[in-house]
């Protein structure tokens, strides 16, 4: 698990892909060019980047309502993603799912999810299949701090532990569930205490530092792959924008000072400083990476805007699978 220059740069690119895509999506939503709800991941990039970089491509992940980051960090395609956000036929879900349901089965991304906590049991199922077929893969479920208050999470955690499944639980603890601060909805501060309750190990890591996340996830993944059962990594992180959309809502559930304070720990800035300091990359080459990715983002907007909407006849397609002729 030596952290090479390649890994450091790879982590950076993954984060920048998420950040720039989402900033663009946020702008589009602000100007009413995106339909529906948009839950932005900005601020939490180090988690998705650090974890996905530590995975094999075929390892499955399940995601949340805040799912763009997970798919993009796993290698998701800007065009299909942006087209989906606009409800176009060329989108990841042919325009039927939208932001909350993006998925890419080829990348083993088993879907964002509109139901809080619902992805966790699904990852248990993927882990079960991995073990039954002996394919050597693991599954990962990303979920928020708030999601660990719902029954689905608890049933899944217990089952994963009882069956000793190859599954990594990633808690993205951003201290809020919608507008409720964590301390108002649970009597513990560290979600890993819930892993301990079900009998598997959990550890806390700085979720604003992609290297710390990568390192911790790699350690856990190695153990899980070797058959030690599930583990939980709790990433202490923060979302920079509002629960939905970009700008703040009426109730002052968190202060501007708090947000500003956390923005000082922006995972991109933290990593950029490290890359420059350690001589891995110059400021110019970092900018070049950003420019390159921004171009791709711009292209994805063009692609999405030029793409057709789905035909009305497609509405009733894919409600059921057809039995394939044998």
């Amino acid at each position: 698990m030596d952290i090479t220059d390649e890994i450091l740069i790879d982590l950076y690119k993954r984060m920048v892909r998420v950040r720039l895509f989402e900033e663009e999506a946020g702008r589009l939503a602000e100007s009413a060019r995106l339909p529906g709800f948009l839950h932005l991941y900005v601020g939490e990039e180090a988690v998705a980047a650090g974890v996905c970089a530590a995975l094999k491509n075929e390892d499955q992940i399940t995601s949340t309502h805040r799912g763009h980051g997970h798919l993009l960090a796993k290698g998701g395609d800007f065009n299909r993603m942006m087209a989906e956000l606009m409800g176009k036929a060329t989108g990841y879900c042919n325009g039927k799912g939208g932001s909350m349901h993006i998925c890419d089965l080829d990348l083993a991304m088993l879907g964002a999810n509109g139901i809080v906590g619902a992805g966790v049991p699904i990852a248990v199922g993927a882990a079960f299949a991995n073990r039954l077929t002996g394919n050597g893969l693991i599954s990962v479920s990303f979920f928020g701090d708030g999601a660990t208050n719902i029954g689905a999470f608890h049933e899944a955690a217990n089952m994963a532990a009882a069956l000793s499944l190859p599954m990594l639980f990633i808690c993205e603890n951003n201290e809020y569930a919608e507008y409720s601060p964590r301390h108002r909805t649970m009597a513990i501060t560290d979600v890993i205490e819930r892993a301990a309750a079900y009998g598997f190990p959990g550890a806390i890591v700085d979720g604003m530092d992609c290297v710390a996340v990568f390192e911790a996830a790699s350690l856990a993944i190695e153990k899980i792959r070797s058959g030690e059962g599930p583990m939980m990594l709790e990433c202490k992180t923060y979302r920079f924008y509002d629960h939905v959309g970009v700008k703040g809502t009426a109730s002052n559930y968190r202060t501007d000072e708090e947000v500003e304070e956390m923005k000082k720990r922006d995972p991109l800035l933290v990593h950029e400083a490290r890359l420059i300091e350690s001589g891995v990359m110059s400021a110019d080459s970092l900018q070049a990476i950003k420019d390159e990715i921004q171009k791709e983002v711009d292209k994805s907007v063009e692609f999405a805007e030029e793409s057709p909407f789905p035909e009305v006849e497609e509405m009733l397609l894919d409600v059921y699978s057809k039995r394939e002729p044998s």
Partner: protein, 344 residues
């Protein structure tokens, strides 16, 4: 509508306004006003749900309650739909009058055991011993590109369960009258708020009043066809009826207001006059409320029917995200008109 506006919808329509000497109130604002008035008069009423307190509900229709009634009676809960309903059931059995909120109607699925196996059945299973004055509020309906897990109309599932009452206000006036009736009712009720109606205002009396559960309302009298429309579809059906009246078809529009119990007598009476029936709802057509109404009408008013019963409803698919698809998915005035014309 941008996502922020969706969540702020109720607030934008929040105020009351005086127009032509009539007091007008928004649909969302009617929820807050009713809750506040009831909570003032009855100390046993409290509300619990995700973000209903400090934030005032994600749709804003509980805003202002916590400042007035405090954290003990306006309770922010963890994300725990099963436990939220259970909290209501346990407190109701203890003699309180809980209102518990499930935010999006889709989330009732997470709490189905507590609703279906517990709330609905306790009284019966206990031999009549328990009383359950429980109100479940939740926002249903589509039209906001909220996709398949945030747009459903699941009332038929609930109506199928003996022990529950299911209420679907179509405007602010009904919000006030029906919510009051639900909270004062001694049985579990599910009060379905339509999230696209939040901003619409109409005349609403200042003082509390009740609209009896199980009593429908004739929105518009007519002689040619009976149109039964549920929830927000009342608005669309009204438009359709107006268009058709210009074309010489005189529709009688019925709003059942509650779908369980259902005021079938009112519909029978109307059908026996018009000889034609169209049923409109946002939920999928298969197994929807329309199927039940149609079945009962053929049982009770078969001889009066001059044509097969027509249903205008959503097709059999999950609610699509793309606005172009969703627009075709949810019935509107145009499709309702077409449905009515099919009868002739």
């Amino acid at each position: 509508m941008s996502p922020d506006n969706i969540f702020e919808g109720a607030n934008e329509s929040g105020g009351t306004e005086e127009k032509d000497g009539e007091r007008k109130l928004g649909y969302g604002a009617a929820v807050v006003e009713t809750m506040a008035q009831i909570m003032r008069e009855d100390e046993s009423v409290f509300i619990a749900g995700e973000d209903v307190g400090a934030h005032g509900g994600v749709f804003g229709y509980y805003r202002g309650l916590q400042p007035e009634f405090g954290e003990d009676r306006v309770v922010d809960t963890p994300i725990a739909e099963q436990a939220i309903i259970g909290l209501g059931i346990g407190a109701a059995v203890q003699g309180l009058r809980p209102v518990v909120d499930l935010m999006f109607m889709d989330f009732i699925c997470v709490a189905m055991d507590q609703i279906v196996n517990q709330a609905a059945k306790l009284k019966y299973m206990f031999g009549g011993g328990a009383k359950l004055p429980l109100t479940i509020t939740t926002a249903g309906g589509g039209g906001l590109s909220a996709a398949a897990q945030h747009s459903q109309s699941l009332e038929a599932m609930l109506c199928h369960v003996p022990g529950l009452k299911v209420v679907m206000p179509s405007d602010a006036y009904e919000v006030k009258g029906l919510l009051t009736a639900c909270i004062r009712e001694d049985n579990p009720t599910v009060f379905i708020i339509n999230k696209r109606k939040l901003g619409d205002a109409c005349h609403v009396p200042e003082e509390l009043f009740e609209i009896p559960l199980g009593k429908g309302h004739i929105v518009r009298e007519g002689s040619d066809a009976t149109v039964v429309a549920i929830g927000r579809m009342v608005e669309e059906a009204t438009k359709a009826a107006e268009t058709l009246s210009d074309e010489g078809i005189d529709c009688e529009l019925i709003n059942p207001r509650t779908v369980q119990p259902l005021d079938i007598d009112l519909i029978v009476e109307s059908v026996s006059k018009t000889g034609h029936l169209v049923i409109v709802h946002e939920a999928v057509r298969f197994g929807g409320i329309g199927a039940e109404i149609a079945a009962q009408i053929q049982e009770k008013a078969f001889d009066y029917l001059d044509a097969p019963i027509e249903r205008v409803a959503a097709p059999f698919s999950p609610v699509p995200f793309s606005p172009v698809l969703e627009k075709k998915y949810i019935p509107d005035a145009e499709r309702i008109s077409a449905g009515i014309k099919n009868l002739f």
